[in-house]
């Protein structure tokens, strides 16, 4: 089994764990944590493909990962900002109670 | 001879390692380097502590510790023994795991920082291409340990102190990075060795240290200020503000963990000053060409000790800043100046040799400094005191 599949499997596992966290946890912040994990899994995938891909010198994989990290950081910041403001208004971070957008 | 003196440790290392099988030599060498660092820098820590207490005493017109050994020389030993033997109390409600992990994580992280610093000529533990980046990455994770400490002790004061510390460290990390960025931009590389080599030339005996350039000098000042804030020292030592928060985030620590925190703090200080030396003061290069004979690592340690004295000196003189002043100072004064400094360096870079660029760059910086100070830092009128009761 060549290393790439290994990395891909680990990335998939991480992604699944992150997804499970996002889908099951009640606390908004933990959902964000889940999302961060999923993003990281994606970055791992990127770099794995870059490393074992046909054109490592093209740096695309790594570049992509770096940009993705930057964006993920921004996303995390905004997400947590939102959670905090929701908390200030609704005094809760429990996702189930944040259903003001109910149809 | 001079060469030998300079490279004494390198040769010693190689010699020791040569006994080992070939494939093992490389790791062994690294291991050896780690041991050396772990030994020397705590020793320096002990000296600095003593120096600090004696210096502060002198500054406050009193003798420092002079009971233990002649002129209190063995005071650090006494402290060490005291912290080792003291009972390590862990509050009941504290989160044991995190409580224990915090100091350990701090010390580990801080020491990892040294892997990158070029202590002497080809005496950098890991000659990494993105050394500076590694150092800052590691530096960034110290905040986490501070937070772990503060939170795990389940103590309102420690939590408050941790929050303040983390906030302060985060807000000063950016200026720290930006000021060091100037040097990286000018030398064109992130690796400390390249930076030191870039500063290692001498004209008429004077070294090409970056500190002797307008942007370099400004960068150094800003780096120093950010460094102090980063290590919660001197005017920025709000987290341990004895008067209000007892001991800040390590209130609940006692015994050896407390010592570890103390160690972590001072080693962090030395790391920051080492980096400062590498970036602005030419790392292990001699101040004067003439003094070239002195081994490189000596110069490095001398610069670190000089920085330590500066820390102690600043601690003794400047009063503590209030939290909002601290924040304002960071975001509204230091950060803009560093950005301007970047611009200034660029200007310097493209104006070619000659006096003109000296005048322009320094004028620009001075002007910016006075303008910012005049406008930004004007003392606000004290509004009526407003009380906000906890919800």
């Amino acid at each position: 089994m060549n290393p790439l599949t290994g990395y891909l499997l680990v990335a998939a596992l991480l992604f699944a764990i992150g997804l499970a966290g996002a889908l099951t946890r009640r606390n908004a912040i933990l959902v964000l944590i889940g999302i961060e994990l999923m993003l990281n899994a994606a970055n791992l995938n990127l770099i794995a493909f870059w490393r074992y891909g046909p054109h490592p010198e093209a740096l695309t994989g790594m570049m992509f990962a770096i940009f993705s990290i930057a964006v993920a950081a921004a996303e995390a910041a905004v997400g947590l900002g939102l959670v905090i403001s929701i908390h200030r208004h609704a005094h809760t971070t429990d996702i189930d109670q944040m259903n003001r957008m109910k149809g | 001879m001079i060469e030998k003196a300079d490279q004494i440790f390198v040769l010693l290392g190689h010699w020791l390692v040569s006994f080992l099988p070939l494939w093992l030599q490389a790791p062994a060498l690294v291991l050896l380097g780690v041991v050396c660092i772990i030994v020397t820098f705590p020793a320096l820590f002990a000296i600095t502590v003593l120096l600090e207490r004696k210096g502060l005493g002198r500054m406050q017109n009193r003798y420092g510790p002079n009971r233990v050994g002649p002129y209190g020389i063995f005071q650090p030993v006494a402290d060490g023994i005291k912290s080792l033997t003291k009972e390590d109390i862990v509050p009941f409600s504290a989160d044991a795991v995190v409580h224990f992990l915090a100091p350990v994580f701090l010390v580990v992280v801080v020491f990892m920082g040294y892997a990158v610093l070029p202590i002497g000529r080809n005496m950098t533990l890991v000659n990494m291409d993105a050394g500076i980046l590694f150092f800052f990455a590691i530096g960034a994770s110290t905040e986490l340990s501070v937070f772990m400490a503060g939170w795990s002790s389940r103590n309102k004061y420690s939590l408050l102190g941790a929050m303040r510390a983390v906030a302060q460290m985060i807000s000063y990390e950016v200026p720290l990075l930006m000021s060091s960025l100037v040097v990286v931009m000018m030398t064109g590389s992130l690796s400390p060795n390249r930076i030191v080599d870039a500063q290692n030339q001498y004209t008429f005996g004077l070294p090409h240290w970056y500190i002797f350039t307008p942007w370099g000098f400004a960068g150094f000042i800003l780096f120093a200020v950010a460094g102090m804030a980063e290590t919660n020292r001197s005017p920025f030592d709000l987290p341990e503000g004895e008067s209000e928060l007892v001991a800040g985030y390590f209130t609940e620590y006692s015994g050896f963990k407390f010592a570890l925190f103390f160690l972590g703090e001072y080693v962090g200080m030395m790391g920051i000053s080492g980096l400062g030396a590498t970036l602005f003061l030419g790392g292990y290069s001699a101040p004067l060409q003439v003094l070239g004979f002195v081994p490189s690592w000596l110069w490095f340690i001398a610069k670190i000790m000089f920085a330590m004295c500066a820390f102690i000196w600043v601690r003794g003189t400047l009063p503590r800043l209030r939290q909002d002043q601290l924040m304002n100072f960071a975001w509204k004064f230091v950060l803009p100046l560093t950005l301007l400094n970047l611009f200034d360096a660029a200007l310097w870079r493209f104006m070619g040799p000659g006096l003109l660029r000296w005048v322009v760059c320094s004028a620009l910086l001075l002007l910016a400094y006075t303008a910012m100070a005049r406008i930004g830092m004007r003392r606000e009128r004290f509004g009526p005191r407003s009380y906000r009761y906890a919800e």
Partner: protein, 170 residues
């Protein structure tokens, strides 16, 4: 498959699992940082040095702290009273398992087609920061500018969103 890979993989997976399953949110956050560290080391393992350090600097340095801050500010630090999991979590788990099964199956199916590892280890030149800088300034200057814009916007947005309303709750 080098042993180091296994160790690091185990570390990051364990960290991730802990981050998801632990009861105390702060512990989750810390577990998360462990997972981030594991991933950073994996990156280094994949010779993506710059990416690894950026990962450490950004995630462990900033995001973890941010998460912890958020936890503290929203007073979630106490262990929650009732179940940690949301509304019937099984579906979530099932969905996640489904996704993992599909991904794994896809990866295993296409294992043969992937470029063989043997050929490439030597080919990877030491990627120096210089190359990355050139790439950033050359080929990826547009994404760089966009990310810069994005970050500023996120910065301002986050501040505004979380800013404490002066004239009371609007």
């Amino acid at each position: 498959m080098s042993p180091i890979f296994y160790i690091l993989a185990a570390l990051s997976v364990a960290g991730a699992l802990a981050a998801v399953l632990l009861k105390n949110t702060v512990h989750c956050a810390l577990a998360l940082t462990a997972a981030f560290a594991g991933l950073a080391l994996l990156f280094l393992e994949l010779d993506a040095q710059f990416a690894g350090f950026v990962q450490i600097l950004v995630y462990i340095g900033a995001v973890a702290i941010l998460v912890v801050f958020a936890i503290l500010l929203t007073r979630d630090s106490e262990t929650p009273k009732d179940t940690v999991y949301g509304h019937n979590p099984i579906i979530g788990l099932v969905a996640a398992a489904g996704i993992f099964a599909v991904l794994a199956w896809a990866v295993l199916q296409s294992a043969a087609a992937l470029p063989h590892a043997a050929a490439s280890p030597a080919a990877v030149p030491a990627v120096t920061v210089m190359d990355i800088g050139n790439a950033l300034m050359g080929r990826y200057v547009l994404p760089l500018e966009i990310v810069a814009l994005l970050l500023t916007a996120a910065l301002i947005g986050a501040v505004i969103v979380a800013m404490h309303e002066k004239e009371g709750a609007r």
